[in-house]
C-alpha cells in the first residue's frame, strides 16, 4: 500500500509561487508563434496560369482567382475570404507553378465583414 497524504502538491505549489509565470499579459507582450506557422496567403501572379487547381481543391471555397486581362496578356487577381479560410494551405500544395505561399501574418481579425475579403 502506498502511503497517502493530504495536499501532496504543496511542494510544487510553493516552488511555482517563486517561478516566472508561464502566461503572458496579452496587453503588454506579443504572442510568439513558431516559424512554420501557417498564416495569411501570399500570391505572386507572375507565373500564374489560372489553372484553378487552388480554387478546385480549396475545402472552404475561400480563394478565387480571376483573369482581368486578356488570354495573351494575363492580369491575375486573387481574392481571399479570410472569414472562410481555414489556413490549411492546400492551395499552396496544389499550385503547380508555386505562385502561392503562406506568411506568418495571423493578426487578421476585423470588425468589418467586408474587410475580411482581401485582395492578395
Amino acid at each position: 500500500m502506498i502511503k497517502q497524504r493530504i495536499g501532496k502538491i504543496i511542494n510544487e505549489a510553493v516552488k511555482n509561487f517563486f517561478r516566472k509565470p508561464a502566461t503572458i499579459s496579452l496587453a503588454k507582450d506579443k504572442i510568439q508563434i513558431v516559424k512554420n506557422y501557417r498564416g495569411k496567403l501570399v500570391y505572386d501572379p507572375a507565373n500564374c496560369t489560372g489553372c484553378g487547381m487552388c480554387v478546385r481543391n480549396c475545402p472552404a471555397a475561400a480563394i478565387t482567382i480571376v483573369n482581368e486581362g486578356t488570354k495573351e496578356e494575363r492580369k491575375m487577381k486573387a481574392t481571399l475570404n479570410v472569414g472562410h479560410c481555414i489556413f490549411c494551405c492546400q492551395c499552396v500544395d496544389s499550385c503547380p507553378k508555386k505562385c502561392l505561399s503562406y506568411s506568418q501574418n495571423i493578426d487578421l481579425a476585423s470588425f468589418n465583414k467586408e474587410e475580411l475579403k482581401m485582395q492578395l
Partner: protein, 435 residues
C-alpha cells in the same frame, strides 16, 4: 358460514391495506425526487449536451442523456466534396483528435487506391499521432482536475500541454487541425531542429508526467474523489462495448496499435497499458501511463526515422470499393468506413468516433452516484460531443415522473400533514420547477 366469510373479508381487507401501504411507500420513494437539468450549457460541460438528472437527495437515480447538439452533417457533406477537400473536413470532425480522423481517412483511401506510403511518412504520422495523444490526455487531465475542483493541477497540466502544442505547431504549422496528412503520405517533412525540440519536450514532460502519476497515486484528496467513482466492471465494459482508456481501465486490452498495427506501429514497440480499478481512478492512471508510453514511442520514432520521400502521388479518382479503416484515437478505437464509386467524390463515409461507443456505458456509471460526482464521471470517458453527434436515453426501471414545483409542494404539504403540521396556508407563487 358467515363467520368464515367475515374472516376471509377481514383477511382480504388486511391484504389490501398492506398492498396499499407498500404501494404508498413505493410511490413516496418515487416521488421523493428532484430533477435537475445539466446542460446544454453548463460550466462542467465543455461542449453542449444535456443531462436531465433525477436525484434522490444527492444520489442519482436516473439520467436522461441528450447528445446531438453539434450534429453538423459531416457525412452528408463528404459525399459532395472531393477526396482532397474531405481531408480537411474530416480533420474537423473533432478539434482534439483531428489527426487520428484524417489518418484513418487517408489510410482507407490509400488502401482503396492501392498506394503504399513511404516509411518516413508513416513515421511522421506516428509522431504526430502520439503528440496528439499527449496533448489530448493532458487536456483531459486538466479538465478532470477542474471538475473535481482541483484547479492547480488543471493549470499545471495545461501549462505542460502548451509545450506539446508548441512542438505540434512547429512540425505541422498549426496548433490544432494540423493538416499534416495527405492522401499518399504527409505534407511536411520533419527536420533535425524539430526533432531536437521534440526530444527536449519529451524529456521535460517525462519528469512532469511521473510527478502527476505519483500525485494521483499518493494524494489522499484526489483518491477520495476518484476511487470507486463511475464503476464499470469488465463484464459491463464488454457488454456496452466501451473502448479506449475506459475499457483499458477495466482490464480489457483493445489497443488498435497492437491489435492491428497501422502506419509505422508494426515496427515500433508499443506496450499495452491496462489497469484493474475499472473506475475514474483507473482511467486517470491508464491515461497518465499511456502518456509515458507515448513519450517512449516518440523517442523511438524520432531516433529511428528512415530517410526518404514523404509522399507519393495519389490519383484524383479513387477506384470503386469499400474499406474499413481503424486507428487508435486518444479516446479509443476510431473506425472509418469509406465506399467509393470510381469518381473523385466518395459514395459514403461513415465515422465511428470513440466517444460514440463510450456513451452507452454512461447509464451504468451515473446511477447511484452523488450529484457531485456527475461531472467527473462524465468527464472520465473524455466525451467528445462533436465526435459523437448522437443522443442516448437511459430509462430508470421504475419509470419516473418529472415533478414540477407544484407537485413538490403538494408532496411537502402532505409530508408535513402526516406529522401534524399544516403548511398549506402558506402562500406560494405558482411556478414550473423543471423546464
Amino acid at each position: 358460514m358467515e363467520k368464515v366469510d367475515e374472516n376471509k373479508e377481514r383477511a382480504e381487507n388486511k391484504e389490501n391495506e398492506e398492498n396499499k401501504e407498500s404501494k404508498q411507500n413505493r410511490e413516496t420513494s418515487e416521488r421523493n425526487r428532484i430533477v435537475i437539468p445539466i446542460g446544454p450549457q453548463h460550466p462542467s460541460l465543455k461542449e453542449p449536451s444535456s443531462f436531465i438528472i433525477t436525484l434522490e437527495g444527492e444520489k442519482v437515480v436516473d439520467a436522461v442523456i441528450g447528445v446531438g447538439y453539434v450534429h453538423r452533417g459531416i457525412e452528408k457533406a463528404c459525399e459532395s466534396r472531393t477526396y482532397i477537400q474531405n481531408l480537411y473536413l474530416i480533420e474537423r470532425v473533432c478539434g482534439i483528435c483531428s489527426h487520428t480522423h484524417s489518418t484513418a481517412f487517408c489510410q482507407g483511401i490509400e488502401e482503396l487506391a492501392g498506394i503504399t506510403i513511404p516509411r518516413r511518412a508513416a513515421y511522421i504520422r506516428v509522431i504526430v499521432a502520439e503528440l496528439e495523444r499527449l496533448h489530448s490526455h493532458l487536456l483531459w487531465l486538466g479538465v478532470a482536475a477542474h471538475e473535481i475542483g482541483f484547479d492547480t493541477l488543471f493549470m499545471y497540466s495545461w501549462r505542460d500541454r502548451e509545450k506539446v502544442l508548441d512542438v505540434l505547431a512547429e512540425i505541422c504549422g498549426n496548433r490544432v487541425n494540423y493538416g499534416i496528412n495527405t492522401i499518399g503520405g504527409v505534407r511536411r517533412d520533419i527536420d533535425s531542429e524539430m526533432m531536437q525540440d521534440t526530444l527536449k519536450m519529451a524529456d521535460y514532460l517525462e519528469g512532469q508526467l511521473k510527478y502527476y502519476l505519483d500525485l494521483v497515486m499518493t494524494d489522499k484528496v484526489l483518491s477520495a474523489r476518484l476511487v470507486g467513482i463511475g464503476k464499470l466492471s469488465r463484464e459491463d465494459a464488454l457488454k456496452f462495448g466501451v473502448v479506449g482508456p475506459v475499457a483499458r481501465a477495466a482490464g480489457i486490452m483493445d489497443d488498435i496499435r497492437i491489435i492491428e498495427p497501422y502506419a509505422a506501429y508494426d515496427e515500433i514497440p508499443v506496450n499495452p497499458v491496462t489497469d484493474t480499478h475499472a473506475d475514474v481512478f483507473g482511467r486517470t492512471v491508464v491515461r497518465i501511463k499511456e502518456m509515458l508510453e507515448s513519450l517512449e514511442i516518440i523517442r523511438y520514432s524520432v531516433k529511428n526515422i528512415p530517410d526518404g520521400d514523404i509522399a507519393v502521388k495519389a490519383p484524383r479518382r479513387i477506384p470503386a470499393g469499400e474499406v474499413i479503416s481503424r486507428t487508435e484515437a486518444p479516446r479509443g478505437e476510431n473506425i472509418h468506413y469509406i465506399r467509393s464509386n470510381g469518381t473523385d467524390m466518395p459514395d459514403r463515409v461513415r465515422i465511428r468516433a470513440p466517444s460514440q461507443a463510450n456513451w452507452q456505458g454512461m447509464r451504468h456509471m451515473l446511477q447511484g452516484q452523488y450529484l457531485a460526482d456527475i461531472p467527473i464521471t462524465i468527464a472520465a470517458i473524455d466525451p467528445c460531443y462533436s465526435c459523437t453527434d448522437r443522443a442516448i436515453v437511459v430509462n430508470s426501471e421504475s419509470g419516473t415522473e418529472i415533478m414540477d414545483w407544484q407537485g413538490l409542494r403538494q408532496y411537502s404539504i402532505e409530508w408535513y400533514k402526516k406529522r401534524g403540521i399544516d403548511v398549506s396556508l402558506v402562500k406560494m407563487p405558482e411556478r414550473k420547477f423543471y423546464a
